[in-house]
Symmetry: C2
Subunit: 439 residues, 2 copies
Amino acid sequence: MSVLEQAQAAEKASFRLASASTEAKNRALAGIAETIDKNRGRILAENLKDQEQARKTGLKDSLIKRLVLSEAKIDQIVESVRDVERLEDPVGKTLIARELDDGLVLRKKSVPIGVIGVIFESRPDALVQISTLCVNSGNAVILKGGSEALHSNRVLFDLIREGAEASDPVFRGALHLVETREQIGELLELDRWIDLVIPRGSNELVRRIQESTRIPVLGHAEGICHLYVDRHADLGMAVDVAFDAKCQYPAVCNAIETLLVHRDLAERYLPRLAERLKGVELRGDERTRAVIPAKAASEADWRTEYLDLILSIRVVDSLEEAVDHINTHSSHHTDAIVTGDEQTARRFLSEVDSSSVMWNCSTRFADGFRYGLGAEVGISTGKIHARGPVGLEGLTSTKFILEGSGQIVAQYAGGGRSFTHRDLPPQDPPGEGVQGRDR
Amino acid sequence: MSVLEQAQAAEKASFRLASASTEAKNRALAGIAETIDKNRGRILAENLKDQEQARKTGLKDSLIKRLVLSEAKIDQIVESVRDVERLEDPVGKTLIARELDDGLVLRKKSVPIGVIGVIFESRPDALVQISTLCVNSGNAVILKGGSEALHSNRVLFDLIREGAEASDPVFRGALHLVETREQIGELLELDRWIDLVIPRGSNELVRRIQESTRIPVLGHAEGICHLYVDRHADLGMAVDVAFDAKCQYPAVCNAIETLLVHRDLAERYLPRLAERLKGVELRGDERTRAVIPAKAASEADWRTEYLDLILSIRVVDSLEEAVDHINTHSSHHTDAIVTGDEQTARRFLSEVDSSSVMWNCSTRFADGFRYGLGAEVGISTGKIHARGPVGLEGLTSTKFILEGSGQIVAQYAGGGRSFTHRDLPPQDPPGEGVQGRDR
């Protein structure tokens, strides 16, 4: 099948999937977990092929490590599928229920988006996670994994499709895998059939995809996050938060790259910070370097995601200057302030234009699991559809459903009737939900 | 100023606008209404220039009519601004409130999107409506109106900007007008600064914009809407609903273009329909033409938005065939079923993939005002961000706000603390809202 044919089949399946019951979706997830669990030998054998190939082509050890599947890793994968089975069904929720007139009731309900394209690098377990989230939310999906994991991806995909399709015919044609790099280009052209693209991988991958498709993209390229230490900050707290935000796990998107400090505090704060951040390379502006030893920061430093033990530091004159610096240089991911003054904090939280803004805590909290979202589909720095850490609701759209008893518009346009527009409790009467039916 | 400079100024203003209080926005709207009210002479004089120019260039009478402003029309415009002032502020609503741990509280709040680009044709009152909706929702806006209304748009824009900026400095630089066709192209390139584009005008305008920008577009090109008359339909109701959906106002997007009828009903239903739809040109498939006189429908008919008194008709064998026809040919705007059988209705409502789906009522109800949304920003057939008739919430995004007392992630990653994830009532304590503060 060509990518176009796959997308057309996925669209067709998506129409039926939209009315799959929660029970049918959970049966499919149980079937997937069981099928993976029963085929461990096949998975490990295919994974060995990828490992051999990777060694032959001289892939870096760190990348090979991400590739390796073991019995313990398969345990984790099976458990992660059962976790998805336990998640709430995001589809069929009533968001608005409104009587327009006697016997004319409007509901706005959550529905699957339709067809999701997912492009990811390495880590075969990512394939399992995203495809089971799509099953749970009733979306058809087209997956493209990293070529290093070709055999592992293929066997895992086959088992997932087998497990889902065997449990219910509604999943036939809903799951697709594409394998070559050229097919990514074809896939990104199919905005008529694919409703959303989720890239999972390096900044370069995400940016390349954002720049080469008209399909909406859910994701973020860089995470250039800031911590602003205000003149009213508690010094100890500001040191602890900066250490955590930079050092607890520097290779991730919600770690900070730049620290801004108010001039009134710089002489007392920066030496304590430098002492705590031993081993971190500091790059500062002139006023920073007048207080502590640091390399000179260039304009490029304010725009660089180090993902490493490097921190750029700038002394600012005011909250306004801090907010301006952040709004100009931030990737709109996560930015935080440490201050004891509530009014200053409120202005920061309001005026900094980022998907997560924080007061007196570490930027590292910006994460779907820490936020209690149940599952994390991704983190979006776009402002349309979903912003910040995105849970399963990011895989849903909405639909207006109007139920009447023969009403026509002419009755209301000069015909003597008028609308009541009375909001109703959003619960569906038992058995009345569009999604309540088992197929 | 170049379009780029305007977009940069708009972005800068949008950061401040995000924390404008409801009171400040309402003062601006009151100022706009008053300024327009006080400058009627200036508006009418500028409008006359457009009318003269239009007559000189031989513009169609129907288009000139849409252009003309009168005292009565200005009354309506002023009243429409006061209506927007009475609308609820869509910004600052708490959508999620969750304690992550003792003293660590997460809120997800509605915020303005940022910078909106609006491109519309003719009708100078559209400029007033959309720019005041942007003021109410705290968005900066760049407007491009039709060239036929150049002078009218310019004077109305100047008065709106004057009224807003005089009421509060927070609106400085928030409103922009571009005037030439070439500038549309420049504007559509500015995805770095402009967050959303709203086209208002012909299908051609919308489609051209959708195809030439990476900025998300809120809108719909065609409205190819269907009515399916099921075998369990009440014949009288099915005739009334079809007549209303086709004839009550055929030139609009939520009127039907195609009627599908179950074969079991065709011989009884179609003659009654044809009798009621006298004056409507009917185009049918073979089975339709075996029952009533009609022109032969071609494949193109199933994909054409007539916006006129023309209806294409097809006889189908089953609900499945009707749903398939709709999902293949519909523009995913609004589709309806008439049936007395609930299970059939539920399947239709669930499996038809359109922004509004209806049971036993007219497609003409698909409209922001009839749905009770307060105001209509547009109708979206996209599945991302907003779908169906879109109220003021379509001009908002969200932001996660995390407030702590020094918490760091290391405490939770092996440091002994764990998350409570306890949902809180979504109300903000008095005076604590990010948006509650007056500037």
